[in-house]
Symmetry: C2
């Protein structure tokens, strides 16, 4: 048995950055005190979700991984508490900007640096304005408590991301997130849709999923988003086994999983044995064209 | 608006093949009478699920697409009723045997011929004994009521299958199935796990999914499986919108969906716009190795 206690968190954010950091730290300390060993903070928790509008002044928030305040602060906290912390931050790298995440291992060392691959560009989610598309590919990191894979928000809608991370041996998938109401479609509540996609990733790959999503209402000049929270942790069948009691106040939830039992479930269910990469060529296109697989229509031939 | 009424069915099967065919026909007629235009019958409904054991006498059941009794019978029924019918059958093709499906369009014409790509081989699900791995690739078919994609049972566990079908323009995914208890693990109930994987396919691809699974207990010499039913239809968010009231007797369920609205949901949610095929090379391997994507570790570099 290799039991690991996972935690997800969710919180409001404001332009009082000191306060965001203090409350994020408080959530991590509380979760660690409850026995959590890998603790997920939400996407870009240092600031409000500035991508709700296109505003050039927000580029000032970007820092290198070396100079990012949250990277420094939370890698030190990881070391102090002996916990693993994925840390989402707005990265500047030369003339490029990325929506990035590093993973601080339980000794504070940074063991992965990932740049968000899939970027949304919709009213209220204006990420293609701020960020270059990530150039790192999907990464797994060997941490004190297991091999983990982190991807960021919009990445969570893509089965390809979860599958690649699972193929690379991820034992748990983590998705820090900022999603809520849709300014272009105020009637739409995507929260269950959002959950079901990731429950599907967990179920198809037999890998637990942890998602952390912000809460609260944030406003730009002409745009307002209410983030819906609903952070959760699944088991290897995609069942939600932990989620906050409500989405009104900062909170955390924990679940303890046996990663050896999860690995055994993957082996015994045999889906990885039975994949057919020879038939997956179309996945490397945008339009389903596949110049490599011999797809024929026997009936029409 | 392009409204289409879909039906799923579920039934017991015995070695009285005439009775299986008569009851499958009755389900199709009843569903058509309720307005269904595309009606899904379960996997290999002509016979019991003979793959629950390795028995050479069962190879006798295989027929070519041209001589298969169920293909002939149900393509004629499709024409009579003006409905689209995917027809699962045990195919013989020269010295090879496949777990195949043809799609009869509403005029009775066969518009697709697919051979199951992913084969299970577990106690009670001994398909690698009977079948060669399908060589057709994943196929979509343009029918009177829309472009549809069919895959078969174990295929339903693979996000790659659903994604390729969606990329090729499938507007609805159909999975005829035979799944139930696990002779090697009698305590295991995979029914919700099974549903969540396919709900995830629907949610990630914003394509409705229809699954048909058999019911009843079937016995071999030393093996017994109770098939759990739980057939269902989802919307484009993966929510189950139709499922039988119970899993004890032959039954059907229908749901009406607007395929134009579904297409609009796919366009507006923008996940197909944002895929990153340049980062998906690892999907074409079994072990996650990717010789093509420039995956680097910036932190360690």
């Amino acid at each position: 048995m290799r039991k690991v206690t996972l935690a997800t968190t969710q919180m409001t954010c404001s332009w009082d950055l000191d306060d965001n950091i203090a409350r994020a730290e408080s959530l991590v300390r509380t979760a660690a005190n409850d026995g959590a060993q890998i603790i997920l903070l939400q996407e870009l928790f240092e600031t409000p979700y500035f991508c709700l509008e296109q505003n050039p002044s927000h580029f000032e928030q970007a820092k290198t991984a070396q100079t990012s305040r949250v990277v420094q602060h939370f890698s030190a906290l990881a070391k102090e508490l002996g916990v693993v912390l994925p840390i989402s931050f707005f990265e500047r790298a030369g003339q490029n900007f990325f929506n990035s995440i590093v993973i601080a291992d339980a000794d504070g060392a940074l063991v992965s640096h990932y740049r968000k691959s899939h970027l949304p560009q919709n009213p209220g989610y204006e990420e293609k304005y701020y960020f270059s598309h990530g150039d790192t590919g999907f990464q797994v990191a060997d941490t004190k408590y297991g091999r983990i894979g982190c991807a960021v928000c919009w990445d969570q809608w893509f089965p390809e991301t979860a599958r690649v991370l699972a193929l690379k041996g991820a034992e748990v998938l983590f998705y820090p997130t900022a999603i809520g109401s849709e300014p272009a479609n105020p009637e739409l509540d995507s929260s269950r849709h959002w959950q079901r996609v990731m429950q599907g990733h967990a179920a198809a790959n037999l890998v637990p999923v942890v998602a952390s999503n912000r809460i609260g209402t944030e406003r730009g000049k002409n745009t307002e988003i209410t983030f819906y929270g609903f952070s959760f942790i699944t088991d290897t069948t995609g069942a939600i086994i932990a989620t906050p009691e409500d989405n009104k106040s900062d909170s955390h939830s924990t679940a303890t999983l046996d990663l050896d039992a999860a690995a055994q479930a993957r082996t015994e269910w045999c889906v990885f044995r039975d994949r057919r990469p020879d038939l997956y060529g179309a996945l490397l296109s945008l339009d389903g064209a596949d110049s490599r697989s011999p797809i024929t229509n026997l009936t029409k031939a």
